[in-house]
Structure formats: structure tokens, C-alpha cells
Amino acid sequence: MSELLNTLMQDARVWQGHRPIQTSQPAEPTGYQVLDNQLGGIGWPRGALSECLLDAPGIGELHLLLPLMQRLTRAGKTVFWLNPPHIPYAPALAREGVDLDQVILIHTRGEGDFLWTLENCLRSPVTGLVMAWPDKLAAREVRRLQLAAEAGSNVCVLFRECRYAEQNSPAALRLELEPGDHQDLKIHVLKRRGSWSGQRCALAMAQRADLAFREAPRVVHGPWAGSRR
């Protein structure tokens, strides 16, 4: 009797062992038709590294990934932000439709931890996207990451400075980002897998500050004149 019961109890484990059904799309659309066109209609590669090279934040670099973040978090995939330079601002992300339940922010101390974390995240089936801001990466390390990315089938975007453009990288996709004149984002495709590179395009990004709505600025005098201390 008790043995039978035991067996029944052990059934708590029957749900173990499933594997998620692998959908083996090689890439995720970026959500920007113009850019997808430049990338041969595929977008962000999965199971591979991508790099975004830029020198200063605030040019639309996060908006570039926003459509992907929205899609993945809504599908229940986790988006990791690893060592971002500033605070990913929750009210803005939420307003943009990113499900914050699926977003995890990680800060690591040592270099070893950074790589180890990135690797672990990339290998997990729960991950959809890892955005990482590395200090500096040796080529050997990048290769190790490439292997980790291949083990999972996730999108991994590394944000690095433009000076790394000259360095060789095993990343499957390398984009150079620059601010345009009308708050747009200029993209230069430095490398893409399986095809020639060098394409350029510009994405309209003024909506990220609702600028379409605004008229000419009218700056009103400071509210607290006379109460200065």
C-alpha cells in the first residue's frame, strides 16, 4: 500500500524531462523593415553573436532592439540586460510594451563572472535575448561566447565602442550606429553572415521622445524664480 502511494507521489516528477519544441528559425526580424531589407530579410541572427558599435548612448540604440524585446517578452522569453551602463528605465520599457516580468537585470563584478553569466544565459532555453555591455573582450573570449550562443538558440547583442570596428570578431552580425540629423539612427552594416556587407540605412527614431507631436520649443521661465537658495 505505502509503496503504491510512494509511487503515486513520485509522479510529481512525471513532468520532468520534457524539452521545449525547438523552432529552428535562424533569425528574428528586427521589426524595422528597412533594416531587415538590408540584412537580407532575416534580422537578428539566433544562435550567434551580434554586435552594435556606438560611442554615446541616447541615439536610439535601445529602440533598435525594442520590437524584438516586445515580441520575446510577450512570448514568455526572458530578456537579460548584463552590465548596462545606465538604468534601464522601467516606466519607459513598460510603456513601450515590454513585459517587465520577463526582464532580468544582472550586474557582475569580475570578468570571469561576466563571461560565465553570459554563457549560462545563452545556453538556457528560457532565454530569448541577452543584451550585454562588456568591458573589453579578448578574441578568445568572444569565440567562447560564440560557442555558447550556438549552444542555445538565442539572440545575443553585445554593445561595444566604435573603435572595435577595426578588430576582427567572430560575431555573425556587426552594426555600426551613429546619430542622424533628425533624431534618426544611421546604421552601417559592417558584417553579416553569408553575404557581403557595407549596407547603410537610416531609421526614423523621433518617436522615441514623442517629438512628432511637439511644436517649436517654447521655454518658459523657471518656475521658482525668487525662491533660489
Binding site: 548612448p57 535601445l62 522615441r208
Partner: protein, 472 residues
């Protein structure tokens, strides 16, 4: 059978006073804060009584200490008393909210006679700085009534006990209010006078329950008690003949112990999220490792993986001579929902827990954080980061209500060092937070810098300009 009853007239107060240094008058008030329900001896000395209005109590003792009643806490403290009493007596009954009943037979045997047993308990109470009124009775109810009236004595003489009970005023006999009023209207003042009434008439004219109560006091009617059970606690110890010098060597005995834990958890249909591992060393204080999983867990393998990671991070300080694994926290396992049976959520859930537990084990729990918007107009307060724990879905704020904000917020505002190339919008005025000392008075603008960066800048009341965010 003989029963010992401990009545704690102000258990919660004793508990609080033990951890307080000043010995001023202290009372417990009911939830609404209107009435005093317990008063400590100091307070009673100054005229405060249970049942008094708080208003009156404060007029009596202006600097009265006041604590709000917490029934959960009270129940927990009462159970704590059962826990130590359990060492002396095998058969214990909890009588919430303020009493514990123990069968004296075992005590008597253990301590060789009633007076010794009585003294032992008295000492134990003293050690714990607890006030309890004790009484012995030949029935549970007799013991209880005597204890509550403070008339308990160390005697097993049934005749004596019944005489004491007989002299007890009606009000102290614990009848319900209606019965009490009726008995008083019959001119009866003591419990003894009620004993004298013809039993059949008592049942007919008052109520069968009243008679039953009298008989339970006297011992002519059975009064079965539900014994208290000590709480579950998983504990396994491994002692090593040869000291173990490397963590690796601990994994093998741990595997067995965790296996037993898994079996225990499966049997109880429970999970846990917290293990305590105590490593004993020969010449050193033992090391205590607390392992937390990111969610309820029962699999030995999962625990072992976390331990392995932990040992990688934290090598042994000294050779280990003994190992104790204990678990006190148990979580009832949720019945798997129908969807889990069909889909693969459970599997992904487990994968998620595995990953997060793994990361936390190595990086520390604080390294992983989850973000959420907070309802506050001050930008630096409009978000929060919390430790990643079990999958929870907090109530969603209305996204439409959220203001337009940049995706990047700076750790702290940075002085604006250049005149922007272009201004786009503003001012948006934020003024608030006067109540917590973090007052903010700012005008926010959107501006583009010469570098092309789109910045969220503000001018504050001190007329300084700052960058607070980037439209990334």
C-alpha cells in the same frame, strides 16, 4: 489522570518585554486600538485593567507603552511554549489564546513526585521570564478554571480541588454571558452553589451544555483533548571518521542526505526553498551555509547543483568533521494545473528556476534584479529593482497612464556641460515629494546635444541644468 494548566495572563507582553530594556508600563490593545486587552504588572499597579478603554488607560499612565494585538503572533508564541513544555510532558494540549494543558502523570514519573515536577516547570517559566498561573486539576477544565482564577495549588487531593472550585465566584467559572446572568438572577454567587442544584433541573432550566460543563469540571463526564503535535523538521547528520578537507568530498554524503530529503518532501507533497548546512570543524566555530533556491524545489539533484556552485565560490575554511543538513521551511506543493499537463510550462519553469538559482548561487542574490515602474512623479522614484524570487506577476499599472520617458535613466543627474544644439519640448514641471525629505522641483526638457545624443535634461530650483536620461 491529573492535569497541569498554565495560564499566561499576558503572554504577548512577556514576549515583548523580554526584548525591551526599559520596564515601563506596557499594554496590548485590540486591533482597533480602543480597548486594553492585556496589561503588564507595572500597568496594573497603576490601575490599568484588561477591558479598560485606552483613553482611560492613558489618562492613568500618560507615557504608557502601547502594542497592538497580533493574533497570529500570539498563536505562534503560544505554540513556542508548547515546544519547551514538550520536553517535560508527553501529552500537551494548546488552549488558545493563552493556555497550555499538560498531563501530569509523565511529569510526575520523570521528576519523582508532584512538588518536584511543579518546581521544575516554575523554574523553566522563570528562566524564560514568563508569567504563568499554574494549577493542578483532576480534569482539564478544573485545572483551567483554577489556573485562570489564580487559585492553583500543588496538590493532587481531589476533595481539596473541588472545594477550591466550589468557592470560585460564578464570574470566574467561564460560563457564557447568558448563563452567567441567569445563574446570578437565581441568586447564585459561587460555582459550589451551582454544583448543589439538582442536575436534571439544571439541564432542563438552564441548558444541557451548562450541566455538561459542570460535569466536565467535576469529572463525571469525559472531556477528550486533542494532543498537540510538534512541528515537522527535517534534520540529517553525517559524522566523518576522517576529516574531509575538500568540498568535493562533502558531495557524496550530501547526495545521500538530499536523496532522503527528496523522499521526505515527496511523501509530504511539499517543497522547500531554503536549506541550512552546518559544517562542524575540530578547532573552529561551525560554518553555517544557507542555500536558497529561487522557487519551491524538491529534487535532490537541483539542491546538489546549487551546493556544488556554492562550494566553488566558497571553499572550506577548515576540515569538516560533521555535517548537518536541516530544513525548517516547508511549502505546500501546488496542484499542477491542467495547462501544465498539456503544455510545457512546467519544464520551462524548471529551466527558469534552474538558471536563476544557478546565477544567484554564484553571483549572489542581489546581483540579479527585476525592474518595475513605481507610482511616483519623481523620476528617480518612478522605478524599483527587486531581487528575483519566485515567478510573481504583480498587478499591472495602466500603461497608458505612464508618462513618456527615456529608456535610459542616469544613476544620478549629471551636470549639463554644453548648451544643447536643439530644444524640443518642455517644460514639464515636476514638483513633489515634500513629505519624505526628497523634495524635487524641476522643469524637464528634451534636448539634442552636439554629439547627436537625445537627452532628458532638467533645470531645478537652484537654477542648475542637468542631464537625467538618454533617449536610447
Amino acid at each position: 489522570m491529573l492535569w497541569l494548566y498554565l495560564h499566561f495572563p499576558h503572554l504577548l507582553l512577556d514576549h515583548i518585554r523580554r526584548s525591551r530594556d526599559n520596564a515601563g508600563a506596557l499594554v496590548i490593545v485590540e486591533g482597533s486600538g480602543q480597548k486594553v486587552i492585556q496589561a503588564c504588572p507595572e500597568a496594573r499597579d497603576q490601575g490599568i485593567r484588561a477591558g479598560m478603554r485606552l483613553k482611560t488607560a492613558i489618562s492613568l499612565v500618560p507615557d504608557l507603552g502601547i502594542v497592538r494585538a497580533d493574533h497570529k503572533q500570539e498563536a505562534r508564541i503560544l505554540a513556542d511554549q508548547a515546544l519547551w513544555l514538550y520536553r517535560y510532558a508527553a501529552h500537551i494540549v494548546l488552549v488558545p489564546p493563552d493556555g497550555v494543558l499538560a498531563e501530569v502523570g509523565s511529569l510526575q514519573r520523570l521528576y519523582g513526585g508532584l512538588p518536584a515536577a511543579w518546581q521544575t516547570v516554575e523554574h523553566a517559566l522563570n528562566d524564560r521570564q514568563l508569567t504563568a498561573w499554574m494549577a493542578i486539576g483532576h480534569t482539564p477544565l478544573a485545572a483551567r478554571l483554577l489556573a485562570r482564577s489564580g487559585k492553583g495549588e500543588c496538590t493532587a487531593d481531589q476533595g481539596h480541588i473541588l472545594r477550591s472550585l466550589g468557592q470560585m465566584p460564578l464570574l470566574a467559572a467561564g460560563f457564557d454571558e447568558r448563563t452567567c446572568t441567569r445563574l446570578q438572577r437565581l441568586g447564585l454567587n459561587t460555582l459550589g452553589e451551582v454544583f448543589d442544584l439538582p442536575p436534571a433541573e439544571l439541564a432542563r432550566r438552564l441548558s444541557p451544555e451548562t450541566l455538561a460543563r459542570i460535569q466536565k469540571v467535576q469529572g463525571t463526564r469525559a472531556d477528550p483533548q486533542i494532543p498537540w503535535q510538534p512541528p515537522h523538521h527535517f534534520r540529517q547528520q553525517a559524522d566523518f571518521v576522517q576529516e574531509i578537507e575538500h568540498a568535493q568530498g562533502l558531495l557524496f554524503p550530501l547526495q545521500r542526505m538530499l536523496g532522503e530529503l527528496e523522499e521526505d518532501l515527496c511523501w509530504r507533497q511539499q517543497d522547500t526553498d531554503s536549506l541550512l548546512l552546518v559544517l562542524h570543524h575540530r578547532h573552529q566555530e561551525p560554518a553555517r551555509l544557507r542555500i536558497r533556491t529561487s522557487g519551491p524545489e524538491h529534487r535532490a539533484e537541483a539542491f546538489l547543483n546549487l551546493l556544488r556552485l556554492r562550494f566553488e565560490q566558497q571553499p572550506l575554511q577548515a576540515p569538516v568533521i560533521a555535517l548537518v543538513l536541516s530544513v525548517r521551511r516547508f511549502i505546500d506543493r501546488e496542484a499542477p494545473s491542467g495547462q501544465d499537463l498539456l503544455g510545457e510550462t512546467r519544464d520551462l519553469n524548471e529551466a527558469w528556476h534552474t538558471l536563476v538559482s544557478r546565477l544567484q548561487a554564484r553571483l549572489g542574490a542581489q546581483a540579479l534584479r527585476r525592474l518595475s515602474p513605481q507610482a511616483d512623479h519623481r523620476p528617480e522614484r518612478a522605478w524599483s529593482a527587486t531581487e528575483v524570487a519566485r515567478q510573481t506577476r504583480p498587478a499591472r499599472t495602466d500603461l497608458q497612464q505612464l508618462p513618456r520617458r527615456p529608456l535610459w535613466l542616469l544613476q544620478g543627474p549629471q551636470p549639463l556641460t554644453e548648451a544643447p544644439r536643439a530644444w524640443f519640448a518642455g517644460p514639464e514641471r515636476v514638483s513633489g515629494g515634500w513629505w519624505d525629505g526628497q523634495r524635487v522641483q524641476r522643469d524637464y526638457y528634451i534636448a539634442q546635444l552636439h554629439s547627436g545624443q537625445l537627452a532628458w535634461v532638467f533645470r531645478d530650483v537652484r537654477d542648475g541644468w542637468f542631464v537625467h536620461g538618454w533617449f536610447g
